[in-house]
């Protein structure tokens, strides 16, 4: 799932986050259509407001997803960044 390219087909900015996401808020959540047609929901990182638009090209990357748990295990997942 890493290094796949696609484009934004919708976006929002989550300002009231669920538990364990508080340290990142506010953050954009987008739906990306990957080249090939698959669609995924993902957080957008390394962005400026101008990147929040229909058709913005993005690339999937690995990032920390939520607050580390009590054992300091860092949870990783897929996010997207603008290209």
């Amino acid at each position: 799932m890493i290094g796949k390219a696609g484009k934004i087909i919708s976006w929002t900015i989550v300002r009231v986050p669920p538990a364990n996401f508080g340290f990142q808020a506010p953050y954009p959540v987008v739906i990306v259509e990957l080249y090939g047609g698959d669609r995924i929901p993902a957080q957008l990182v390394d962005y400026v407001p101008e990147h929040l638009k229909f058709g913005q090209k993005v690339l999937t990357v690995v990032r920390k997803t939520i607050q580390s748990d009590i054992d300091d295990v860092i949870p990783y997942g897929i996010k997207v960044k603008p290209v």
Partner: protein, 369 residues
């Protein structure tokens, strides 16, 4: 169908700090039994619609839990389908009577949400979404915001159009003594409320609520259930071909009209699932009241049809498992001409539309006087 609602009641919805789920259930079921003119010993099965009692309250096994609390001691089931749990429970109750297994059953929708931290409630509600949505940090306002953005881009729907839904539904709620919000809103007030998930603002969102509602389903005459239909779509938004509609709503509605032998034009009153203002606009289109893309400009200007006389989820409140039953209670009150200051004169046919998640489950009930 030869099946009826013979009793219907709801508690007040709101932040009911001092009231337990047990007390809410007893009030709603007691009210429905009294309305039907029967007692608990006439009930042969109990169907409970609830979503969050396990995640928030640590209590599962709600069928047995409430059968005991209500002194019913009959076959009892919990039905869960996110925010459509209430209507799903009703659908199962109806099928149980149609099968011939039972003659008279009780359906209870109940939810207690306000005793918990907002971020914990947001996390619990995301149990209705897909794993990928949870990992992305999406919330339910966020998911409907993604739908709103596409509707705005494709059809020119504006934030003011969406705000008009909240204004209308708060006006209706101001006439409903059981509603959570009795305050009048203005478009300006909605527009100035804090942003929750752009483009949705606080006053575009239904609240976190406590409440219960109950109905009695029976072969005996009452308000007729003309259709009860469930449709299912993908759990996550990203797996859907189209983001301009809730396909499950459209499919369930088309079947329901067919079963009831009517068209959308025959509907006098509708309780639709306005968990967010954009959701009511989508529903107005997907239920066939307006062409796709044309509902936003029609909010509050429908000619014969009146939508969300209870105040909807936005104004009346949204204790998720109770909502689908409350919608039906409102229709029964309207069709029986006992809806007080919010009575729609000449209401003969009503539709209830209850949605689970971002549209993975849609349940439609059509009731006739």
């Amino acid at each position: 169908m030869n099946i009826f609602i013979t009793g219907a009641a709801t508690t007040i919805f709101g932040e009911l700090w001092g009231v337990s789920p047990r007390a809410l259930a007893k009030e709603a079921v007691g009210g429905a039994l009294a309305d039907a003119g029967i007692s608990a010993k006439n009930i042969q099965a109990l169907f409970v619609g609830n979503m969050l009692s396990g995640m928030l309250g640590g209590q599962e096994h709600l069928g047995a839990f409430f059968a005991e609390e209500l002194g019913l001691g009959v076959a009892a089931f919990k039905v869960e389908g996110a925010c459509a749990s209430g209507a799903l429970a009703l659908h199962n109750a109806i099928n149980s009577v149609l099968s011939g297994q039972y003659e008279t059953v009780c359906v209870l929708g109940v939810e207690k949400m306000t005793d918990h931290k907002p971020e914990d409630v947001a996390t619990a509600l995301m149990g209705a979404g897909s794993e990928a949505e949870r990992l992305s940090g999406a919330t339910f306002p966020g998911l409907y915001a993604l739908l709103a953005r596409v509707h705005m881009e494709k059809f020119g729907t504006t934030e003011e159009d969406m705000a008009a839904v909240a204004v209308k539904n708060h006006y209706h709620a101001s006439l409903n003594p059981n509603a959570q919000f009795r305050s009048i809103l203005t478009v300006e007030k909605v527009m100035k409320s804090s942003r929750v998930a752009d483009p949705l603002k606080l006053l575009d969102c239904s609240p976190i609520s406590d409440g219960a509602a109950a109905v009695i389903v029976s072969r005996k005459k009452g308000v007729q259930i003309a259709a009860s239909v469930v449709a299912t779509d993908t759990l996550g938004l990203a797996q859907r071909k189209s983001l301009i509609e809730l396909k499950a709503t459209r499919e369930a509605a088309q079947k329901a009209y067919k079963h009831a032998g009517i068209t959308p034009k025959d509907i006098d009153i509708a309780e639709v699932h306005d968990c967010f203002t954009i959701a009511e606009i989508l529903a107005m289109e997907d239920l066939g009241f307006y062409k796709k893309g044309e509902a936003a400009r029609a909010v509050g200007k429908t000619k014969k049809l009146v939508i969300n006389t209870s105040g909807g989820l936005k104004g009346c409140g949204h204790p998720v498992g109770a909502t689908g039953i409350k919608q039906v209670v409102e229709l029964v009150d309207q069709l029986r001409g006992r809806a007080g200051r919010r009575q729609v004169v000449g209401a003969n046919v009503g539709l209830a539309h209850n949605v689970g998640g971002s549209g993975a489950t849609a349940v439609i009930h059509i009731l006739k006087k």
